[in-house]
């Protein structure tokens, strides 16, 4: 049976990875059709010359960094707070937020912003997208950090307090460093979810906040283009490297 499982595993991983690998492979195809012509970097060149793609990437990076920072801080504090003191209200809310379909989150946030803008005369923009991303990232951070907290257990902190540290010092000097791998994992998750998001972003984006997924979607709607293959290949490689690096940091 072990052999069957191994065969199955090979097929399984092939199913998971071949589509992306094929996409990446054909980003080097000089022709736009699925018949291999010859190796070429034209699509990568086209990608770097397209101002919309560059602007979208820049916006995605800025939004992801802001949203990740805010969500990680808020989520870590929340996970720690929940660990010390239960709050059914917050726990229930976190669950509910996790299961809310993306489209519902998107339209509800759009409704909120438009209602606020009636009084304040502001516009949709980068900041609304950041707020929206924080909105759906916090639960993910809380889950990851909570899991890590449960693994650590309360003993370290209790020991510190027995030795004379107050609550704040115990948290800062003992728990937080022990929590760091979990925080990094949570931040990575928040970063990925934010960079990748399309549905919610497209609803709350403003004048100058077009993100990379929005650019990709618009291109896909206009017809297949190998430039999308090139972008996809770069995103895959980029995040793959990021994951591997974070694993190294975690193990260190």
């Amino acid at each position: 049976m072990k052999r069957w499982l191994a065969v199955y595993a090979v097929a399984f991983y092939a199913f998971l990875h071949l589509p992306l690998l094929t996409l990446a492979a054909f980003s080097f195809n000089s022709s736009r059709f699925t018949v291999w012509d010859h190796f070429s970097l034209t699509w990568y060149r086209a990608m770097f010359h397209d101002p919309q793609i560059l602007a979208g990437t820049w916006n995605s990076v800025v939004i992801a960094i802001w949203a990740t920072t805010i969500a990680t801080v808020a989520g870590t504090l929340c996970a720690y707070g929940l660990w010390k003191r239960e709050s059914r209200f917050i726990t229930g809310g976190l669950y509910l937020s996790l299961i809310t379909p993306e489209i519902v989150t998107g339209i509800s946030l759009l409704a909120l912003f438009q209602w606020i803008f009636r009084w304040l005369h502001w516009h949709l923009g980068l900041y609304t997208v950041v707020l929206a991303h924080v909105a759906f990232s916090v639960p993910y951070v809380v889950i990851v950090v909570s899991a890590r907290l449960r693994t650590i257990g309360p003993t370290l902190e209790e020991a510190a307090m027995d030795l004379g540290a107050n609550e704040w010092q115990a948290f800062l000097r003992v728990t937080l460093p022990a929590l760091l791998p979990g925080i990094i994992a949570a931040a990575l998750l928040a970063l990925t979810v934010s960079f990748d998001d399309f549905v919610i972003t497209s609803m709350v984006a403003g004048v100058d906040s077009e993100t990379l997924p929005m650019v990709i979607y618009a291109m896909a709607r206009r017809g297949a283009s190998p430039v999308i293959n090139a972008i996809s290949a770069l995103i895959t490689v980029g995040f793959g490297v990021l994951i591997i690096l974070s694993e190294r940091v975690r193990e260190a």
């Binding site: 004048v207 709607r221 017809g223």
Partner: protein
């Protein structure tokens, strides 16, 4: 945003480039401008233009409806002008600031949707018809031809309720802008009868599949059809005999804009014959600018797909803004067709 600014901004993580020039925000359809149009305007007037694109009127309207979107200029299709006016979203055009209006084709000097040209400047126009593979004999000429079972799985229709219902209505001999429930229901039955033959409801993305031969027959807008024909000479286009719609995208200034003068200058810039002609060259669309059209090469100027001759043109109609009840019924019918 160009590459230089991209790397400039990288050094400062603030996320916004510091620029003291006046700014204009323009929201247009995708692939509807030439690469040098915006930089040319920026250079000549010493301003910065923020340019973004959308794929549908509704996508644009959803952002603009609050009256607080941040955009100065958008390009709605002509039959959206009336609702936008009713919602007080538009700024009235000052003709004194638009000397270029005289460049418009006579047909668009007093269009039926805006006789005084008080609200929008006609920009580009197109019609909906049938693009098909020349291998199909006899040549297609009617909407009714799209109900032929021989095309099963090789036919696409537009993912647009107005166009699909309109084609069914014309096939049955009704007006494109019909409002009577029994006419709309009859059109719905025709659409549902056709659905098994339809491969998918696709807009511009069907172009590649026409070129590669996946799709033999498609309901498509003339501009996109011309792009497909340019890429694959085995395709041809026809305006159906029963009648078909024309659409004109108009440049409007939003009432929320605080740079009305600059916006007018941009619209006047777009009205310049050379600028408009360059856009046409880049996008292969049909311009409402008569002076620009005169500058185009003969083959483009008389292209029957983009600029249909008089007898074809007379068979077309400009869709009207529909009363709310009829619009609601059409929306519901569209959901029913898609779920069938």
């Amino acid at each position: 945003m160009n590459r230089r600014r991209f790397f400039l901004g990288l050094s400062g993580l603030a996320g916004c480039a510091h620029d003291t020039r006046p700014r204009l925000n323009v929201y247009n359809w995708s692939a509807y401008i030439a690469p040098e149009t915006i930089p040319g305007f920026e250079a000549e007037f010493g301003v910065q233009v923020r340019y973004a694109t959308y794929e549908s009127n509704e996508e644009m309207l959803a952002k603009v409806l609050t009256g607080n979107s941040g955009w100065d200029i958008v390009f709605p299709t002509h039959n959206r002008l009336q609702p936008m006016r009713e919602y007080e979203l538009l700024a009235r055009l000052n003709h004194a600031w638009l000397p270029g209006l005289k460049n418009l084709d006579p047909r668009f000097q007093a269009p039926v949707w805006d006789p005084e040209l008080a609200w929008g400047v006609p920009y580009m126009w197109n019609g909906t018809g049938i693009v098909y593979n020349r291998s199909i004999q006899p040549p297609l000429s009617r909407w009714a031809d799209l109900w032929n079972a021989a095309f099963k799985g090789r036919l696409t229709m537009l993912d647009d309720p107005e166009d699909v219902l309109g084609a069914c209505l014309k096939k049955l001999g009704y007006s494109f802008s019909a409002t009577l429930p029994q006419e709309l229901r009859a059109a719905e039955r025709a659409a549902i009868a056709q659905k098994p033959l339809v491969l998918a409801y696709l807009n511009a993305e069907v172009r590649d599949q026409l070129v590669s031969g996946d799709v033999l027959v498609a309901q498509l807008w003339s501009t996109t059809a011309q792009q497909a024909i340019d890429a694959a000479p085995h395709l041809t286009f026809t305006y159906p005999a029963e009648g078909f719609p024309f659409y004109c995208d108009c440049a409007v200034i939003l009432r929320e804009s605080r740079r009305v003068r600059l916006a007018h200058q941009f619209l006047d810039y777009l009205l310049r014959p050379d600028v408009s002609a360059r856009i046409v060259e880049a996008t292969k669309s049909a311009t409402a600018n008569g002076a620009a059209r005169a500058l185009l090469p003969e083959a483009v100027r008389t292209n029957p797909v983009l600029y249909p001759p008089a007898e074809t043109y007379d068979r077309g109609e400009w869709p009207r803004t529909l009363p709310p009840a009829a619009q609601r019924l059409r929306d519901r019918i569209w959901t029913e067709i898609k779920s069938a």
